[in-house]
Amino acid sequence: MNEQTLFELLQQQGVSRRGFLKYCTALTSLMALPASMIPTVAHALESARRPSVIWLSFQECTGCAESLLRSHSPTIEGLIFDHISLDYQHTLQAAAGDAAEHAREQAIKDNYGKYLVVVDGSIPLADPGYSTIAGMSNLDMLNETLTGAAAVIAVGTCSAYGGLPQADPNPTGAVSVSSLVKDKPVINVPGCPPIPTVITGVLAHYLTFGSIPELDSLGRPKVFYGQSIHDRCYRRPFYDKGLFAETFDDEGAKKGWCLYRLGCKGPMTYNACATLKWNQQTSWPVESGHGCLGCSEPDFWDAGSFYNALSIPDGDYTRAAGYAVATGVVLGAAVGFTNQKTKATAAAQHTNVTVDDFSLNKKNK
């Protein structure tokens, strides 16, 4: 199984050399590699094998899979999907029940040590009953599936960082994949959902080079998450000029000014929306006039209001300040009155100084 190289597979489908080059060009662009890498990509693909992929869905909304599969025109992403062997995806596969689980076990056995595991959704630890598949807890299934995996791709913010299920108060005790998996490489592809191009870009990288791309400190591929939304935002010049939309329908908003004051989390969010855009590169949230929510960052649900500027504190600081004023007044008054007493005591203890009191005058006498 899967012993054919990708190039051979394409040839079988009647794809010409030019078609292959075009495919490589698109793939290089997809992986956000410089165009000068096209020959390298082509060379790598000539000998690349079709990997087996097991897709596990835990506490999730299927939005990530939708993002990827419902791209309304099957483009290069679709091509990539044709060229992996998706051996288990319980939402998509035809098989059900024991047969489905058998497919998973079979894929593990056949590709031991070489297959990829894609996870979307977080894993509940408070009570396994919150999410089970075929009577098996998510944690058990993850552990079992991971035994022979080459690497894990955590697709979506839920699997990458816990996401919505983990948001305060986190009733299910949801955790991310990376907090459980310590002995395998984990690639986080966060986003709610992630840009489909990014999901396929990461798969393409593994497919092409057989290795995982360079990751940042949060386990995200640097090629896609290396720069903040803010730094690549076309509205950035307005931020630098101090021109801000104050409401969603004011003159500033119409002129396309910066959305920072309307709560845009662009400065703290690392993602590729500003360049890759969404819906076949049609637009992206900021271009549509709404600030970035920061969906590719850990705990973005709990990072304060989506409509508050980033620098605004989230805590109940007015109450804290109120208590502080009251405490300050009480303590200050107490200290103040003690001081008055100290001073009054000093005044009471004062003895009138006369010139006769100087020891010099006493001696002279």
Partner: protein, 136 residues
Amino acid sequence: MNNEAFSSLEGISVQVENPELETGNFQSILMEIKFSLEQLLEQKKSHIIDLRAMPWSPGEEHKLEKYLGKGEVHIELDALGKSTFYETSYSGIWVVTHYSEDGAVIAKAIEITYMPEMVFSQDEEIKDSLERFEKL
């Protein structure tokens, strides 16, 4: 469903409200092109600028294409969907667009070269042609 109609800004006739809005990429690309043209002449070295790898404000990319204009050569290729190659009004500067089989843009680049690599017949396939002729 007409996918092509929704595959680009021009397709849904968006009116750009603020044409002055610029990222500054327009100017920097012109600089990069100028530098690449010098390299092409002096060292015969081609260069590709991937237009997908940079942020654009609405309409800015279109402005660049308009600025470069269209030249004498226009090539269309049909492999895994359409691809168009045209030389701009500046010789040596090509705009290359790859479409998927459904007409969606999958890659777009400016190439500074004598002729985009992909247009040339490929050795592997010339060999294949030869084989087929030998069989005659």
